[in-house]
Symmetry: D2
Subunit: 339 residues, 4 copies
């Protein structure tokens, strides 16, 4: 940590800062300039809050000078993390992996048709919600366990992997037999108790960025899962909340290359939630891969105009098919491939 | 719902929209203007998503024309909700109620001293965290059950009520014997499973606005608790995330009078999290009450410079005392009082 | 400036940074810790960009450690700036000064009636736009010179001072004979050529915060005016753009006490633009003064329902009257007064 | 316009709204539902503010149901606008056009070297600032007229077109002999007087999105230029301000396909300002084109580490070269080409 003092700070102010730094476990190096004094704290105490120093008398500003996350940092695994799924699909490798399917599991027929269309298009995962976090208590809340069973059944039939959202600790056990990957939604990115439990599970997790989460907070939340011992973690940009209302969210495409620099974890893009408007999904999917995404998570519905949730952002099956063809051409431009 | 068609929409486009509206349960009234067609959907189907209509061919835009929340709306209880606590303290009435205390319970001595100072200043509730949601897994996570016991003990000793944060469904039972009011933190405002459970509890709840939650989302989350039967609910503005970084958050003071118009629920302000800087807390506390807040939730620590968390935004005991004196003078200016 | 190196930075990386610092005119003090190296640059070169250092190889982060503004800083005039107007009205002193009037000058009758009502309520300035910056070229663009003449005429009749917006350098000369204070609107806060010209004028200026301006940018824009020699400058918080759409903007009340700490310049609040909804203006005006504002700028119209612009946020005359009575009671609570 | 009344609105409330609508020139169609009344205003009065209706007694909400812009709308020129420059370069056609060069013109040697590198890489325009809008009055403000002359000279030598920023009406005349395209910077996107003047000029204009401008505001500002008769206008996404601080701005890539739907004007991306970090520029440039951009505006400097401004976001010449090669491969994937 570094503390820069104001030019007008008194020696007493400076001593108070030094004392507190020493008390926390820092060795303090002092630079006394003509204009102001700088205090460099060397060492890495377990607990300290930079904000605490910012309000001490005579302090101009204080700076943390190292990442607050460790296991999530790129230097922990410079070569990058790859996650291998039961059927051999690898996320984080050369291949760009696509996960697609409806927002919610609605019926056997709907999810089976979806799975067939998703598989036909060349995607590797079927997505679909069985437990749905809905802003309103009056919206459709998902089929629960029945939905999980249907997901498993149709995926086995079509050779797809299953990814679905977990909202609550008690659902983890319930879900384990039916799924290949847990999805943590944006609203739960800082549900720390849930993250901690997922750190103890032996199934991969895809964690979405919270709607107002900074890049650093994403990596700190990742740290909760990693520090429990579960290293099979993927991150996912899905749009942040800004003042612009034309799109549902503002998809921060730059978060993809930023995360690729800062962490070894695979990074996916979710253009469906990123923009919320069907026809904008293909250009944003292409942009995600052009920017370096390891994969995509997208909503597709056999009949989006009748979907029980998120129909507006669900692709028609033929849109997905066309997009997959473009993605196959795009991947090699950025040194990736799609099978 | 209303759907405004584009000027260039075809009759086929219009018919498709009408059919879907009818299918969902609307009666449709059509106005054919020279410039464009307007379709007014009369009736209130349970489930429909306005977004679905926005992407239909030929649609200019679609509008929901009623609140998605019911129980939280002002018209449900035009006179406003008042919550009466065991010792007779009333929130939502004429009195402006202050809740104060440290961010975390750290030790018996710390919380006892805090309680005495809080009571001496004239506050009615002791706040203090036993379970702490921290961005980093390496930060202090709270004393847990021991913290709860200490909170109860020192509050009984000083005649204060206890408010503390609940993060997880499994903590509800654990907390019940020790507390007077559950606090739902900003990060859990859309933890819908937790909200639903709190709807079944018979203790008051204070729910904070999420860091990027719209006013409408606050009220929809309130609806989760109310629809479970727990009407003893308070809302709390605690700052939202914006591009400005000088303050920890940007406290949206206007949310206080806005919420007072839209809902019957009491509304408090939390200037400590709102700004994150100790010396800015008193002006923002005064602003909150000037704008109509029913109460305040604030951090105070006997020795903020040594606090284990949030020291930078914790008031010194003498600051709280001085602020309370100002609040007593301010309250009558806005037709309120402080005992 | 301080540069913190990554733990993995090579000696070559470190030397490159040192060389560039020296080249810019810094004396460099080096602290070599076990974990990382810290380079403190002592001295104050005229031109340097911290961002440049952030992208050098091996750099963890770089920090400016002094304000980029000088004349606007509190330490330049610790006692604060007061601005005395021709008729003896002082802004920045003990008195809370109110400026009110319609959004636009619409006609002689409208502005005369406004002026009488504003004066009767006890405000000291008449506001009203003659040149209007409108998002759409099809909206009413103001009466221009005729509006200026009317403003002067009715203000002389009622003993009020005139404040009105300047949008363009060529308008400055035109306005000088008619006005007492220039207003720089939010959209022009970074129109640097205009600011520079206003620095050479000998009339006070009120500069509004831009809709997405940081506190630091506000003070840098102030520096443009101050460095031209015009010290009669007031700042004004008028709401920033956030994701919340219920209000027109989100009024950042905390910017008021923050600016009072950072600068010696008087700070006003504009709750009309801050919220955009008439009935929310009084609570936000009270909140502004409770938080330390030196004055208020508000829209009032004799007949807001027929206003040519901004009617929705213009107070009825009787609302202004009632609000002024409350403000008079509030001012002493925060050690201010209103005549 | 449509006005939806509250369920509790009285007949008197409804009549007041109808009267005001009629007064403004609307024909009103009334739908009286069991739950609420809906008033559809047919017709297109010149001046009206939807906000005015939102605050009338008994109103639930009011909606504008047509675009406030006309000439900028897609339907005005469904085939899209193409702009042909003197040397035959076309923007808005099949080709993706690249404009590159340093942030500022610094010297004859610097800008000549830049021009040669830009031309060698295959870009068609040389960018470079002669007049610089800088947040601080103490930063380098540009070479002015001398810079313009140098831009022209080296562009003629290398066969490039010149694009440079105009900040002030008085600069327009000065610039005309030297440049091929005016650039309006983000800070001037709502400098309406400047826009109006540029509407009367017979040279193309590239207008950047303001840092907090909505898509609708971009198009309304475009309308100022178009309504003056200048149809040779390009728009440019350059990042918006959000809470995320890792990047300089958050580049809203989705604005590119959104604008392509809403307007006939060509749309470019400026990844340099979008992210502010050199190594993130190539992925964001690729993402822009993948999402449908008609061109790119980027900063490149022969020696970015010594640049007088924006060095951190300026590409090294070899980075530009490599990026151009990738762009050539990418363009056909989205049905475009690069010569």
């Amino acid at each position: 940590m570094i503390v820069a003092m104001h030019g007008e700070a008194t020696e007493e102010n400076i001593q108070q800062v030094i004392e507190r730094m020493v008390e926390l476990g820092f060795n303090v190096h002092r630079t006394t300039g003509a204009a102001q004094t700088i205090l460099a704290g060397v060492g890495t105490p377990e607990h300290f809050e930079v904000a605490e120093f910012k309000v001490l008398a005579g302090v101009y500003d204080a700076y943390r000078i190292s990442s607050p996350y460790k296991l999530a940092g790129r230097s922990f695994r410079p070569g990058g993390t790859t996650i291998t799924f039961p059927n051999g699909v690898v996320v984080g490798g050369e291949e760009v992996v696509v996960m697609a399917g409806p927002c919610s599991v609605e019926s056997r027929e709907q999810i089976l048709t979806s799975a067939k269309q998703v598989a036909a298009a060349g995607a590797k995962f079927l997505r679909g919600g069985a437990f749905k976090p809905r802003s309103s208590p009056y919206s459709f809340q998902g089929m629960g366990l029945d939905g999980l069973k249907l997901l498993r059944e149709v995926s086995d039939e079509t050779g797809l992997l299953v990814i679905t959202e977990v909202m609550e600790i008690s659902q983890i056990e319930l879900m384990l037999p039916y799924i290949d990957c847990f999805q943590v939604g944006a609203r739960n990115m800082q549900n720390f108790n849930l993250l901690r439990e997922l750190g103890h599970v032996r199934k991969p997790v895809l964690m979405k960025r919270g709607i107002a989460a900074t890049i650093e907070e994403v990596l700190l939340s990742a740290e909760y899962i990693l520090s429990g011992g579960n290293y099979n973690l993927m991150l996912c940009e899905r749009g942040i909340r800004t003042y612009e209302t034309y799109t549902r969210n503002t998809m921060d495409i730059s978060a993809i290359p930023v995360l690729k620099r800062l962490t070894h974890l695979p990074v996916l893009g979710d253009p469906s939630h990123g923009v919320g408007i069907r026809d904008l999904v293909p250009p944003m999917a292409l942009a995600s891969v052009a920017a370096g995404a390891d994969g995509l998570l997208m909503e597709m519905h056999p009949n989006p105009d009748k979907a029980m949730s998120d129909g507006a952002q669900s692709l028609y099956p033929e849109q997905l098919q066309k997009l997959m063809a473009q993605l196959k051409l795009l991947a090699p431009v950025v040194n990736r491939m799609m099978a």
